[in-house]
Amino acid sequence: MDFQGYGDLLIQGAGITLRLAVGAVALGLILGLSGAALKLSRNKLARAVGNGYTDLFRGLPELLVVLIFYYGAETLLRHVVNDLLGIDTYVEISPFLGGVLALGLIFGAYSSEVFRGAVLSIPKGHVEAAKSFGMTPFLTYRRIILPQVWRVALPGLGNLFLVTLKDTALVSVIGLDELMRAANTAGRSTRDYFTFLMAAALLYLALTVLSMAVIHLLERRASRGHLGAAGH
């Protein structure tokens, strides 16, 4: 393939794509854990909020989520800065931040289900044992629940990461120069969309394969004690 000098643009785009995905997952993991805590709460209202969060993002097209949260956050911020604080300045949110926010919220909605299932898979006896050792709830959470949740949830989280990696392409719509938009730019100016879109598609495939390898390593590491005990 002949990239006519646009090869660097694609590589840079792939870098932004990767950073966007990692940023969204970092935010999404926090939201997912909080969402799972809400869903597992004894409080009815908390459960309703947790389930509503997942249902909302499961039913909305990802593209609309990106648009709503990008423009929504901007409108809100403008309102706060210009009207409430009375500062007369032009407020704009970077597309990268908008993308992290939108994709992070989506990742959180789906991962809260993964975390909920993982917490439920931990035998009750483990928590009771921790309690009988005199551990506080927080210590139990940190030493007993979280490490096990991590192991059980990893395959599901890995799949969600791959979905997020592909969803990053949507952020091109609000003007972030990630891989998809870079390919479009190069395609438009060279009048050779096919080459650049195909190159971008292959780069997405490469990122997917790379992520799968990393996820596999993480899974092996997370279950190292488990494998030994089970005698695999």
């Binding site: 039913g59 097209p61 998809m180």
Partner: protein
Amino acid sequence: MNVDLIPGFLFKMLTEGLPTTMALVALSVSIGFFLAVPTALLRVSHNPAVRVLPYAYIFFFRGTPLLIQIALVYYGLSTLEWIRGSEFLWPILREPFWCAIIALSLNTGAYSGEILRGAIQAIPRGEVEAARAHGMHGWLIVRRILLPRAFQIGLPAYGNEIILMVKGSALTSTITLLDITGVARNLYARYYTPMEAFVTAGVIYLVLVFLLTRLLRWVEGRLSRHLLGPPETELAQDRAS
């Protein structure tokens, strides 16, 4: 938010956008289904040379974003000389609607093919052996045992895939199609009221997905009626007698 704008927006999205979204989903899910069946059957073949083609197809369409697949068909193919010159292909590939149908069908065909493959492999071995013992072979087993059982096993996952298609169809607004999202983006551009337009569209999708979930649950219930067994009270009586 300017609430007065919303009824007008809603009307425009329901009358102009909704039919396009429904047509996109219905057509591409149907075509995708016919792609999925041979894909899944070839994927479970014992011959590695047969398996490699459906594997490559699934790998490409599941490993790349749907947005890029849509762009590849609409923008990418139109820059190839031999397609522009073709009397048969160009009239189809110059229409954004058909490009969207092609991309969405190929995409859902790959995902559904993988769901169907998993379902075929989940069918208990004994059922196929029983069919063989009855003298069925080859195609007859596929038609009478494998596919009906696989549909039933794979239905919950397949239902999810249909919902993903409803959401994925929103991406066709990037190739100028006026589906629900396309109409919303147009209204935003005309009135510069992003929240009114996008939130209204979001509500329509939420209702659509909710109704579809209900429908799928009903179909699932119908298909697995025979697994429920007789009602509890009759069972107790049978045991007593």
